[in-house]
């Protein structure tokens, strides 16, 4: 059972399930009491239901508690869900948010220490250790990715290069000159980096780089295969969200068969996204997380909108932490088009398969004579642009065919000029639904 790269912080990864459950129950009761005492919204919701913290006697009682949703964070913007006085809050982060105000999250020093410890366990789970040189290309700032990975890698004893995002040529130079062995960034950025390296005559497979920790956006198995073969590395999926802590909520291990959830701090449930009813283990549904040890901003039954399933049974790596399937789609992303469920991730998969990299795209839904229409706008990138009309028509045809095949429903593809799809803080608004307007 001894892990190959043991770090003291990773001890809870191997707790026998009974001990884990008892730890979770203790912590759950503590966090419910704390939220009840200090967070007005939560107390009001328990009062409405005639519930008291003492009603949590077993882990299964968690299902009695009300959910917390993203709009709760917006409605109480900026500090309404804090359970700690501002004097005890040592850090704030905020999400970009595609509409309106961002959401704000808070950490006490203890919360940061927990976050660092789960990031240490995350990186160790990917085989990263002291002696590794880690290029941290997640953005530093209000986004939790940069600082989360930074503190984790430092506490692990690795050498951290806080390069942040962007400036791809410098990233490649640093990767090569500093003999980087591990990188943290979004999977799509790493694919871009691989391509740029190729153009500059750098073969990443020949560099010491051996591991990538990729997250902050959904990605597919086909992207993983591409990254692993073109980069000569192993690519690990990391999961997290600011509302819960940031990156480090769950991570793959070397078995790459699902993500271990750090359930001593983040208690997972899977519920029916429509009804909110808990689902049996193994069923796909919406991931709901309760922060068991968060002080500044406890989240009770937070609806992540991410769809996954818990995987039962032991993992070959020896960790006893429960695993979840990789997240490919979100419940609020689902588009119902002429009775067929369509997810933007399916469209991404098809575009990626055709073009090799993910172009910026946008889905526009309209209603014509009562029939729903979907148009996918795809920005033409320098990689696919040809001076030949025939080649562009062929590209258009191939994209249309790939989407038809993937979605099982006819959609229109329109090639558009680069930079014409509106971006909000670097992220494209993926879906424009004009069906209610006409």
């Amino acid at each position: 059972m001894t892990p190959s790269r043991f770090h003291p912080a990773s001890a809870p990864d191997y707790l026998p399930p009974a001990q884990m459950k008892s730890l979770q129950l203790d912590r759950l009761r503590g966090v419910v009491q704390r939220a009840f005492d200090l967070v007005e919204l939560f107390r009001a919701r328990l009062d409405e239901r005639g519930l008291a913290p003492a009603d949590i006697r077993g882990l299964e009682d968690i299902a009695k508690l009300p959910f917390t949703v993203k709009t709760d964070l917006r409605d109480t913007y900026p500090f309404g869900l804090f359970a700690s006085p501002i004097e005890e809050v040592v850090r704030l982060h905020a999400s970009s948010g595609t509409t309106g105000k961002p959401i704000v999250v808070a950490y006490t020093q203890g919360d940061l220490d927990v976050w660092t410890s789960v990031m240490v366990r995350s990186l160790a789970s990917c085989g990263i250790t002291h002696g590794d040189i880690v290029q941290n290309a997640y953005g530093y700032g209000l986004f939790t990715g940069g600082l989360g990975a930074h503190y984790g890698a430092e506490a692990l004893g690795a050498t951290v290069i806080p390069i942040s995002g962007g400036n791809t040529e410098r990233q490649i130079m640093v990767m090569k000159d500093f003999k980087v062995t591990a990188i943290c960034c979004t999977p799509s950025y790493f694919i871009h980096l691989l391509e740029r390296a190729g153009e500059l005559g750098v073969d990443v497979r020949e560099l010491p780089l051996r591991a990538g920790v990729f997250g902050a956006e959904p990605w597919t198995e086909s992207m993983r295969r591409h990254i692993e073969s073109a980069g000569g590395i192993r690519a690990f999926d990391i999961y997290g969200l600011s509302e819960i802590t940031g990156p480090g909520v769950a991570i793959e291990c070397c078995a790459q068969k699902g993500l271990h959830i750090f359930e001593d701090h983040f208690y997972p449930e899977i519920v029916d996204p429509e009804t909110g009813e808990p689902l049996a283990e193994g069923c796909e549904g919406e991931l709901v997380i309760t922060t068991l040890s968060k002080r500044a901003m406890p989240m009770i039954r937070y609806r992540t909108r991410d769809l996954t399933a818990l995987i039962s049974g032991p993992c070959p790596c020896g960790r006893t932490l429960r695993r979840m399937r990789r997240i490919g789609r979100r419940s609020d992303d689902m588009i119902i088009l002429r009775g067929i469920n369509v997810f933007p991730s399916q469209i991404e998969g098809a575009l990626l398969a055709v073009e090799g990299t993910l172009p910026h795209y946008q889905i526009v839904l309209t209603r014509d004579k009562g029939l729903d229409q979907m148009e996918v706008l795809v920005e033409v990138t320098p990689e696919v642009f040809s001076d030949q009309i025939g080649a562009l028509e062929k590209l258009h045809e191939t994209l249309t065919y790939a989407l038809d095949q993937t979605l099982g429903v006819r959609v229109a593809v329109r090639l558009v000029r680069p930079q014409t799809i509106r971006r909000s803080e670097g992220k494209a608004q993926r879906v424009i639904d004009r069906r209610n307007l006409g």
């Binding site: 033409v380 990138t381 320098p382 642009f385 040809s386 001076d387 030949q388 009309i389 562009l392 028509e393 258009h396 329109r414 090639l415 558009v416 000029r417 680069p418 930079q419 014409t420």
Partner: protein, 145 residues
């Protein structure tokens, strides 16, 4: 011998032409000739300009995808049968003309045409061997007539 042509992706809708024209005008770059190929959805604007390197950088920084293609400028007699004679030189050569368009200026009794060949080197060799004037790039970028 070969001329650098810039190709830009445009959408087929009103107002798409003015921006690249304004950009080039603002930088004092002259459009020597152009052609616009279109489909129902999109178009490709192909231009020969006085300073293709700066023009490409300028358009790219404004967010356009720019493709630099090598084309060939050829003089042809500006009289009935002029183009037919030229085509005859390439007949049976297996060389394909992907597209062509003309310069607005000529040289006395000669017109200048732009050709995009699938095998530009083979085409140049064949045309020159037949005594056809393949126009030097310097003459095309800087109006001579």
């Amino acid at each position: 011998m070969k001329i650098h042509q810039l190709s830009l992706f445009l959408e087929n809708q009103p107002g798409q032409m003015i921006e690249p024209c304004r950009l080039l005008a603002g930088a004092g770059i002259n459009i020597r000739t152009l052609s616009l190929a279109d489909t129902r959805q999109f178009g490709i604007l192909r231009v020969i300009v006085s300073d293709w390197k700066n023009a490409a950088a300028l358009l790219e920084s404004a967010g356009y995808v720019v493709n630099v293609t090598e084309v060939v400028a050829i003089e042809v007699a500006d009289r009935p049968g002029g183009l037919a004679e030229l085509m005859a030189i390439l007949e049976n050569s297996g060389i394909n003309i992907e597209y062509m368009y003309a310069f607005p200026f000529g040289r006395q009794d000669r017109a200048v045409l732009i050709f995009r060949f699938d095998q530009p080197d083979a085409a140049i060799e064949r045309l020159q061997a037949a005594g056809v004037n393949v126009v030097e790039s310097i003459d095309v970028y800087n109006k001579v007539s």
